[in-house]
């Protein structure tokens, strides 16, 4: 039996389970998000109107949840794909770091955006 088998990682259950939990949350948010922002609010609106709408706390909460779950779900998904195809331990580690960094960066930018929008003076 190949030696590689012994490099275990026991995080599979957590990844698997939360991928599903986030999937269900995403399903709900995403449908809402699309229906609301892409179908209903169509056309070119004045900046002021849009930002005003975006400053409601309810909207911010939703946006933030979406950001977190989608990032987690998406990057976790990428990591699961990587686990399938990258067999060398060092490469896996490297890839994982990249994912973490990208995740952190996106989280930062995304959070910043939300905060900035809500603190904009109209």
């Amino acid at each position: 039996m190949s030696k590689t088998f012994k490099e275990t990682s026991k995080t599979g259950a957590v990844l698997w389970f939360f991928q599903r939990v986030t999937a269900v949350i995403l399903f709900i948010i995403l449908v809402y998000h699309f229906v609301y922002y892409h179908f209903i609010s169509q056309g070119v609106y004045p900046w002021r109107t849009v930002v005003a709408k975006m400053q409601s706390p309810w909207f911010n909460l939703l946006q933030f949840t979406f950001l977190i779950t989608a990032l987690y779900h998406g990057l976790n998904g990428v990591w699961m794909v990587a686990e399938d195809y990258i067999h060398c331990k060092a490469w896996r580690l490297a890839f994982f770091s990249v994912i973490l960094m990208v995740g952190a960066a996106l989280l930062f930018v995304g959070t910043l955006t939300i905060i900035k929008i809500s603190s904009l003076k109209i």
Binding site: M1, S2, F5, E7, K10, G12, A13, E83, H87
Partner: protein
């Protein structure tokens, strides 16, 4: 029962002389009610004795004769010509395994993986004088999984295995299911610890090729799902 002309393409490989497998075509005439195994026998016995393949029971119970015929994994012995529309056959060894010779593949890893999941009853209670009691409902949970003939069709058809040869594979995981869900067994924790692994159950992405390939129609994916839930319950 009429005679038919067959055109049979077989993937040949002899480790002593060939660098790479190659296709060889045989033309022959047989009855139309024969099985793929009969066709191979006919070739081996009367046309070309160098062809090698595994077979024994020829009644779909020993699991020797799994191979890929016209694009899917089957047991050669239970697959009749009539299951195909044409009289052209394309026969190759199971994908994903190493070829020893012609249609004979290396099963050492396959069996090693099976051994890995501790495929025997683990008892932490004393054995009774007679039998352990087990309800018919509990028996039903494992009956289908116990039908597995270890033919390797499922594991060799799984894209996850093609990408990662260390993946335990559906056959071994099904065996794990068979013991973990056996009401008599006390080894759940040990076994879950083994399959809850990078190369274990989490490499299954419910691709269902295994279920398509299984000659015994075992609902493999369903059992693997139950294992995943069990493993999750145990570690979260």
């Amino acid at each position: 029962m009429a005679k038919v002309k067959l055109n049979v393409k077989v993937l040949r490989y002899n480790p002593d002389t060939d660098k790479k497998p190659y296709w060889k075509t045989y033309e022959l005439e047989t009855e139309d009610d024969v099985t793929i195994l009969d066709v191979l026998n006919e070739i081996h016995w009367n046309i070309d004795g160098t062809l090698a393949y595994r077979r024994s029971c020829r009644s779909a119970i020993c699991g020797s004769c799994a191979m890929k015929v016209n694009g899917r994994n089957v047991l050669a012995c239970e697959t009749g010509l009539h299951q195909f529309n044409s009289h052209k056959l394309k026969i190759e060894p199971l994908p994903g395994f190493k070829i020893i010779k012609d249609l004979v593949v290396d099963l050492d890893e396959f069996f090693a993986k099976l051994e890995r999941i501790l495929p025997y009853l683990i008892l932490k209670k004393p054995t009774p004088d007679k039998e352990f009691l087990q309800s018919p409902q509990d028996f039903d949970k494992i009956q289908e999984a116990a039908m597995c003939i270890l033919c390797g069709s499922c594991t060799s058809s799984c894209p996850s295995l093609w990408a990662n040869e260390d993946y335990l594979g559906p056959a071994a995981l099904l065996k794990a299911y068979r013991f973990i869900f056996d009401s008599r067994d006390d080894g759940t924790d040990e076994r879950l610890d083994i399959i809850n692994d990078r190369n274990g159950i989490w490499r299954c992405h419910t691709i269902f090729n295994c279920m398509e390939a299984c000659p015994k129609d075992i609902k493999i994916t369903e059992y693997l799902s139950r294992l995943k839930v069990k493993a999750t319950e145990n570690s979260i």
